[in-house]
């Protein structure tokens, strides 16, 4: 098929301008020390769903394409080449062809070829003999028919139907290319990539270390000699250590508003950014088992929520009420606020919503003398626990008594996948601001992230 829309990626054109503007000042050397919030289950990005593994390992790998690292709002317009040098779509957006960068080596010295790309997506779509233990983003590729190779340096993703935003999924930090010659089991404990940093070690509950890849294909990168992540689960301890300059950075995207104020008080010279992160707090009600297999009970629980209270208490008013997609202006796809207010349960008149919820509960046989007791499960770290406690308080308003059940990080995802909960307070971190990720991963039948049905 005739290939059109040959893309000269914007990054190829713009990168020299950007790099040239400040290149003279950059210094090489030094190890970046980061205090890190949690200990992941493994080092394999393709088997993990949280930043605990994905964050430290992103620099160990490359993607085919990636989002420009100097552009805060990622989107189709900021996708630039990585292991691919360029790409092209066919006319009906069902074939996406990448030309690959020659001369790239894996960290163990073996050459990177088109076969590695094919192996990675065969693994992700369950076509390979090797299997992933957990495959949280399998649904991203439900429209992928196959990946074909044309020699060592060209691959074509054949889609079942048109999907103009498919390339956005490939640009995510969750889409690294894995080597054919390293098993999924080995990737959990000693990942091999092509990226700017080589994996050194992971000591659970202690540290993660990566070191500069001297053979990185981008000749002037990275600047750092390495990155050391020290795992400190206690937020106050981590913040104090950062303020004492024992660390160069805090854990990425981890500090909640009150803690951020503490940091600024203790370390006024520090640079701090408070940003929407496309992570929403949500309540998962397990409708596959009693009592929430009753749609009326679901409706009552949804009506009990006072969203503004969450925003005011936990984010000092800086968070946003929103739906499935990140609200504007930072989010590209979120509903405008006026439209949002018309959704069920989003009416700002909370007393009215709760009065309706109590009526539903009373019809179901509950009341001030007969409460419904439920466990509210959540991951045992503050960003999860704090809203879970407020949720429990709000559920009391409609005769539901919640009991907090904190769960260790390593067990959290398996528990959700087994649907082993009644009410779960979860954080959904979207891999990118793109409906094809958010909607397929979290809300379609059989999707790994659709824990509630």
């Amino acid at each position: 098929m005739t290939r059109i829309l040959r893309t000269l990626a914007a990054g190829v054109l713009l990168a020299p301008l950007f790099v040239g503007s400040g290149a003279f000042a950059q210094k090489s050397g030094g190890v970046l020390k980061v205090y890190f919030f949690d200990s992941p289950a493994s080092m394999s990005i393709h088997e993990e769903a949280t930043i605990a593994a994905q964050g430290p390992m992103m620099g160990v790998f490359n993607n085919l394409v990636m989002y420009r690292q100097d552009v805060p709002q990622s989107g189709l317009q900021s996708i630039v080449p990585d292991l691919a040098t360029d790409w092209s779509w066919d006319e009906d957006k069902t074939q996406l062809t990448f030309r690959l960068r020659p001369g790239v080596k894996w960290h163990d010295g073996k050459p990177f070829t088109a076969k590695d790309v094919q192996c990675t997506w065969d693994l992700l779509t369950g076509k390979s003999a090797e299997k992933l233990r957990i495959n949280p983003r399998k649904v991203w590729y439900k429209n992928l028919e196959k990946v074909g190779t044309n020699g060592d340096y060209e691959v074509t993703f054949q889609l079942k139907r048109p999907q103009p935003a498919f390339i956005a999924l490939l640009a995510s930090g969750f889409s690294p290319v894995y080597p054919c010659h390293v098993s999924p089991r080995e990737m959990r404990t000693h990942p091999i990539g092509t990226g700017p940093f080589k994996f050194v070690e992971f000591k659970p509950n202690e540290s993660i270390k990566v070191t500069r890849n001297p053979d990185y294909w981008k000749k002037d990168r990275p600047y750092l000699d390495g990155i050391e992540y020290t795992i400190i689960k206690n937020v106050s301890t981590g913040v104090m250590a950062f303020a004492a300059r024992n660390f160069d950075m805090t854990s990425y995207y981890f500090l909640q508003v009150p803690v951020l104020k503490d940091v600024k008080n203790q370390a006024p010279e520090a640079i701090c950014e408070l940003l929407p992160s496309n992570v929403n707090r949500n309540v998962m009600l397990n409708r596959e088992a009693p009592p929430f297999n009753d749609p009326e009970l679901l409706r009552a629980a949804a009506l009990s929520v006072d969203r503004k209270a969450f925003v005011d208490i936990l984010t000092a008013g800086k968070g946003n009420v929103g739906g499935a997609m990140l609200p504007p202006p930072e989010g590209v796809w979120g509903m405008p606020p006026e439209m949002l207010k018309t959704l069920p349960g989003y009416d700002p008149d909370v007393p009215k919503n709760r009065a309706e919820a109590r009526k539903i509960m009373e019809k179901l046989g509950y009341g001030s003398d007969k409460h419904l007791a439920v466990s509210v499960s959540t991951r045992n770290i503050p960003p999860y626990r704090d809203p879970a406690i407020i949720l429990i308080d709000q559920l009391k308003e409609i005769y539901i008594d919640g009991q907090l059940e904190p769960i260790d990080t390593a067990q959290w995802l398996p528990r959700l996948l087994r649907k082993d909960y009644t009410v779960a307070l979860n954080l959904t971190g979207n891999g990118l601001d793109e409906p094809d990720q958010t909607l397929y991963e979290n809300f379609t039948c059989g999707a790994e992230g659709n824990y509630d049905g």
Binding site: P196, V279, F310, L343
Partner: protein, 70 residues
């Protein structure tokens, strides 16, 4: 509806479809979204070249452009 938005080339039409899907999800009520948070990252002033992203936490941690001005 999810497939329909995915195949839509026109971004304005796609947005309408995405919003309609959002309404359907809210009516379904199995997974109420409570709020979208903001979270913070701090670094010492000598850490240079780090640009946090504003619409996802997973895409900006390659760290190959980060350097220490010590």
């Amino acid at each position: 509806m999810v497939d329909q938005q995915s195949m839509e080339f026109d971004q304005a039409k796609r947005k309408e479809l995405v919003w309609a899907t959002g309404r359907k999800l809210a009516e379904d009520a199995a997974r109420p979204i409570l709020y979208h948070s903001r979270s913070g990252t701090c670094w010492q002033p000598y850490v240079k070249g780090y640009v946090p992203m504003i619409n996802s936490i997973y895409n900006g941690l390659r760290m190959e452009d980060v350097w220490l001005d010590k």
